[in-house]
């Protein structure tokens, strides 16, 4: 039984125009470490939460009545977590996190909740959850321990195009479409800032193909209205060293399928 609770500490965002980002409990909090005041310690998603807030602040600076802001939902994906609702709400308010609402669901119904809440991006530390969400047409990305050391002044989104990743058997038209619409939204947000000093940086990394696959990626992103800041064409070189310099908050890949770290 899913319950949705608003966070009264946080001003609610516009239902139609906000970009809804769902982050799982296990990403927001370090579930193992609960101190005796019944407050969870913060997990790997902290820099991301901070930076999404930063983008919102900058958007409002540009336009005080801006409605296209990031709206963050904290979602539980296990029954055990679902039952800790008061601790979760408590901890969130204790840390002053800009979480708009909570969605208490279990492993059986969290996917439905994503759809129900109009989630445009689902962030989790669990590969299976990401895969499930993607298959159901919700763009998702994995967070891991690297996410914990990302900067909190600029949202760094990296799109990895890899010509050799076989599209998911389930990579349906709907899944691709929702991925594209999320990119379009990001593109719109990016457009509100200038070339320099932007709180959002969009990077593309093409792994296996040569310059021409990078070129077509740039063109197709442009047609979605996404202005790419940085581009790296690796021509088969390993991705690791480049990614460790880029320090993305999260990686998106073709069709948003699960990506190794």
């Amino acid at each position: 039984m899913v319950s949705t609770v608003q966070n009264s500490d946080v001003k609610q965002k516009d239902e139609d125009q906000a970009v809804v980002v769902a982050v799982t409990f296990a990403a927001v909090f370090d579930a193992e470490a609960e101190d005796d005041r019944d407050v969870y310690r913060l997990g790997v998603a902290l820099p991301l939460l901070q930076v999404l807030q930063r983008v919102n602040e900058r958007l409002l600076e540009e336009n005080p009545v801006e409605h296209q802001l990031f709206d963050i939902i904290l979602i539980t994906t296990e029954t055990r977590q679902q039952q800790q609702s008061s601790s979760i709400i408590n901890s969130t308010r204790h840390h002053g996190l800009e979480v708009g609402r909570f969605c208490f669901s279990s492993e059986d119904d969290f996917i439905e909740s994503l759809a129900h809440n109009n989630v445009q991006l689902f962030l989790t530390t669990d590969g299976n959850e990401a895969l499930q969400a993607t298959q159901q047409g919700v763009p998702s990305a994995l967070l891991d321990k690297n996410s914990a050391s990302c900067p909190s002044d600029q949202l760094r989104v990296v799109l990895c195009q890899d010509a050799t990743i076989q599209p998911n058997a389930d990579s349906s038209g709907a899944s691709k479409k929702s991925a594209q619409s999320f990119l379009t939204l990001l593109g719109q947000i990016r457009q509100k800032f200038g070339m320099f000093n932007s709180p959002l940086c969009f990077t593309i990394v093409t792994s296996c193909g040569g310059k021409d696959s990078c070129c077509s990626a740039l063109k197709s992103l442009r047609s979605l209205g996404v202005s790419v800041d940085e581009a790296y064409c690796l021509g088969g070189a390993p991705r690791g060293p480049i990614l460790s310099i880029l320090r993305p908050h999260f990686l998106l890949s073709d069709g948003f399928s699960q990506l190794e770290g």
């Binding site: 310059k211 070129c215 202005s227 790419v228 581009a231 790296y232 021509g235 088969g236 060293p241």
Partner: protein, 384 residues
């Protein structure tokens, strides 16, 4: 290891035959090698819709060498191509107008810049290496590095295709420093128009040099890569130059004589010479010494009979062969370089860079060592 051959300068210059092979020859052997066994290719071949040009085949991913195995040369877009007009738009009208201009002219390729002949020569060497060692990853790998916003990327890629360059790797950093990426690519040499970035690279232990726009450029060989180096503060450290600058020529000679048997410390370009040497040996191993498509030169103000000895002993001790060592004993370098026709000449002193450029030699400045306190570019346009 013996150094051969040594040219002792006595005012008379040995006439070096420079006969660039006709376009047909070079292209022929390069394109022939693109007829790979189709079963080996992962990707289907694609022809470029550029009028009047033979279609290039896109090689499969397996043919891109691993960065640590290749000799990686990172080249900035501003030295590989001529982008002065666009620079002016940026400086005079700001970044938004600059990007708009670039997109508007997206299908107009840039003209070749000062590093272009050098890069073409690297590709010619690669063609020969692939003939002899088809499976080897020990090749030149050219990476395009630019501060540009990825908006400009499409125009750069179109330009690469237009000029039939084999560059499949690039970094468009959108304004952030490329130094981290240079290290990640195991860069052996970085060429840029921006002296500041070159200095940063040198500080990180990456061989680097600043290049300048040239008014006239002499014709160079299309089949043999020729790289010339200054000695002090380029291949070697600037220790001896310091003595010269602070105590004068006599003290310098005395110091060199006393320390003749003590090796000079290495300079920022030593590693690159070493990398060239390794590739040269691959040709020698296949009986191609006389026909080697890589030739290296030392062009130094030291004199053969005295201070030059220490330089030679040092190179020998390092196990580095240099094909020709030219000791000018203080004579101007321009005329000598004009005879050699290197694709690139590295020197730490702007005075020599300008002298070389006046006679049409592409010279790259290595901003290293004591000479930097006395440098100031007079005629060449550089900087950001």
């Amino acid at each position: 290891m013996s150094l051969d051959p040594i040219q002792v300068m006595s005012g008379q210059v040995k006439e070096l035959k420079v006969s660039p092979s006709s376009n047909g020859d070079t292209r022929g052997s390069w394109e022939e090698k693109e007829e790979f066994d189709p079963n080996q290719l992962d990707l289907t071949t694609k022809s470029k819709p550029v009028t009047g040009r033979r279609a290039r085949k896109v090689e499969g991913a397996m043919f891109f060498p691993k960065p640590e195995n290749a000799v990686t040369v990172a080249v900035s877009s501003r030295v590989l191509f001529r982008t002065e007009r666009e620079q002016k738009v940026f400086e005079q009208k700001g970044v938004e107008e600059y990007l708009r201009y670039q997109i508007e002219h997206e299908n107009e390729p840039f003209a070749p810049g000062p590093a272009f002949p050098f890069v073409k020569a690297l590709e010619a060497v690669n063609a020969r290496l692939r003939e002899l060692y088809p499976q080897s990853e020990e090749l030149f790998d050219i990476v395009l590095v630019t501060y540009n916003h990825a908006h400009v990327g499409i125009r750069l890629i179109n330009t690469i295709n237009h000029h039939n360059l084999f560059i499949e790797r690039f970094c468009m950093t959108g304004g952030s420093s490329p130094i981290g990426y240079l290290k990640a690519w195991h860069t052996n040499l970085y060429l840029s128009a921006d002296a500041e970035k070159v200095r940063e690279a040198l500080a990180e232990g990456i061989a680097a040099a600043t290049m300048f726009m040239m008014e006239k450029v002499s014709e160079v060989s299309e089949s043999q890569l020729r790289v010339a180096f200054d000695g002090d503060a380029v291949l070697f450290s600037d220790e001896s130059e310091r003595i010269f600058k602070t105590h004068g020529l006599d003290k310098f000679f005395e110091h060199e004589r006393e320390n003749e048997d003590i090796l000079l410390d290495h300079g920022p370009l030593k590693g690159f010479l070493e990398a060239l040497g390794k590739l040269q040996k691959k040709f020698y191993a296949k009986g191609q010494r006389l026909n080697c498509p890589i030739r290296t030169y030392l062009v130094t103000a030291r004199s053969a009979a005295s201070s030059g000895i220490r330089a030679l002993k040092t190179l020998r001790a390092w196990g580095l062969e240099i094909d020709e060592a030219l000791f000018l004993a203080g004579a101007p370098k321009g005329p000598m370089l004009e005879k050699i026709r290197p694709h690139i000449y590295f020197d730490d002193q702007m005075f020599h860079i300008e002298g070389a450029a006046e006679m049409g030699t592409v010279a790259a400045h290595v901003p290293y060592g004591i000479a930097q306190k006395h440098n100031s570019p007079q005629t060449l346009s550089g900087g950001k």
